[in-house]
């Protein structure tokens, strides 16, 4: 969720969308993890919220892979 480039230019509705609305899928969900008990590095994960199965792991600089 990127910070808006021109926050003051947003309507109330757009600001509300930015502030409060997030994806909540039953299925593949992209999230950022930190390996806090180990190497302390941040990385991205795609997890299936129905099973908690990890579907993909990739570096923060990489784009989300397409899962077949």
């Amino acid at each position: 969720m990127a910070y808006p480039e021109d926050p003051a230019g947003l309507s109330d509705e757009e600001w509300g969308q930015y502030l409060f609305f997030r994806d909540n899928p039953e299925g593949e969900f992209a999230e950022r993890w930190s390996h806090s008990a180990g190497c302390r590095r941040w990385f991205n994960v795609v997890r299936d919220t129905r099973s908690n199965r990890i579907r993909a792991v990739y570096l923060p600089a990489q784009t989300r892979p397409v899962i077949g």
Partner: protein, 399 residues
């Protein structure tokens, strides 16, 4: 011999006046009050699983109305008043037991918040008292109020009219009453989509066929955002597992309900004898009805800190429900940008206590196509206007 069925198991018809999505406590109560208060009986309650098998079967059954903000006190106190007459109204034992709730304070800030909440409750006509540690001990002798512990009990708020009820009985009694008034209860009928034509909700597609309706009322807890999305409606909800657990059956030892935020656990003892405990949600979003073990571990540690007598009790079962958490920890109720599509969601960790109250108000909202005054502050539009009902931390429970 099989005991008598309490309600008719209906086959879905092609069309209804009102479809309620979700046969949990809220959905059943809504259908009941639609029929009873508004004479609307051409109603179907659809559920993907069995009746009241979601969070209605998985909550810790605590009923209270000692919320800080006026808006919350209004809806929860309305619910508590209905609870007080519900057994008689439904003609069925609900094991509703007004044994009181203690919300413990462990820090100066807890004390200040607690005293403030007691005063706010009284202004709103909600029974509330501030108790010193020795009074806490009188109400619940097994709580450790000694000053030498890591987080000593500095006092507690007490709501004597709070209590517990037997959740299954509540669901069955509501189902029986709704069914007797003509409502169709349809299990194993998952809503896979809401059809919207020219900005109006007109039908649902289900695993048992398409059903048209004049009005469609969502009440699907953790899955509400999934169903709403099929109608093109995004909701500010996040779905999380919320765990609870019970001990084996014990002699009566715990006379009230005890909640603590700082030492995070809430505990009561069910009529049958098991200690019933819960705490916070699992932090990660998930639709899987299973939580992480460290959540259980920390709530057990909290329970032992407060109740040293539990040291030799055993955990019998743990489980999770799927809850929909809103940004301000208050529910979202009312109309939507889609005509004839209504919303009851965002109850997060605390929906059970509201069951009759929300059923009453949601039925009114559906029948009159306008929010009930008690739920009017809880609209979806508050996330645009900024008029939040911020119960995070204020609600006497950490979420």
């Amino acid at each position: 011999m099989h005991p008598d069925r309490m309600w008719r198991s209906a086959e879905p018809r092609k069309s209804y006046d009102v479809i309620v999505v979700g046969a949990g406590g809220h959905g059943l109560a809504t259908a009941y009050y639609l029929a009873k208060n508004h004479g609307i009986t051409d109603v179907a309650v659809l559920d993907r699983g069995w009746l009241a098998g979601g969070n209605m079967a998985r909550n810790t059954t605590i009923i209270r109305s000692n919320y800080l903000w006026d808006e919350s006190a209004g809806i929860y106190e309305h619910a508590l008043k209905l609870w007080e007459g519900l057994e008689e109204d439904l003609g069925y034992p609900l094991l509703f037991s007004q044994r009181g709730v203690l919300n413990l304070a462990h820090s100066l800030q807890d004390v200040r918040d607690g005293v403030r909440r007691v005063e706010a409750n009284r202004v709103n006509g909600v029974d509330a008292e501030w108790l010193a540690p020795e009074q806490v001990k009188e109400v619940c002798p097994i709580v450790d109020v000694s000053p030498g512990v890591r987080y000593p009990v500095l006092g507690a708020t007490y709501q004597p009219r709070a209590g517990i009820a037997k959740h299954d009985n509540v669901a069955w009694a509501l189902a029986r009453a709704a069914s007797d008034l003509g409502v169709d209860l349809i299990e194993h009928c998952q809503v896979t989509g809401v059809e919207v034509t020219d900005g109006r909700a007109t039908a649902v597609t289900t695993t048992r066929g398409r059903i048209t309706a004049n009005k469609i009322a969502l009440s699907a807890a953790g899955h509400t955002s999934v169903v709403a999305k099929t109608a093109g409606l995004d909701l500010p909800l996040q779905t999380h597992p919320l765990q609870a657990l019970v001990s084996e059956l014990l002699e009566p030892i715990h006379p009230t309900v005890v909640m603590s935020n700082a030492v995070h656990v809430y505990v009561s003892q069910a009529h049958k004898g098991e200690l019933v405990m819960g705490a916070g949600i699992d932090a990660a979003n998930s639709y899987r009805r299973r939580g992480a073990f460290h959540i259980i571990e920390s709530q057990m540690a909290a329970a032992l800190e407060l109740f040293p007598v539990f040291a030799r009790a055993h955990v019998l079962r743990t489980w999770a429900g799927i809850v929909d958490v809103s940004p301000d920890a208050s529910p979202i109720i009312g109309l939507t940008p889609v005509e004839n599509l209504y919303l009851n969601c965002g109850w997060g960790t605390g929906g059970f206590k509201a069951t009759p109250g929300i059923g009453w108000c949601y039925a009114h909202t559906i029948a009159h196509d306008t929010p009930h005054p008690l739920t009017a502050p809880f609209t979806l539009t508050r996330f645009t206007t900024g008029a939040l009902v911020d119960e995070h931390g204020a609600a006497a429970v950490a979420h």
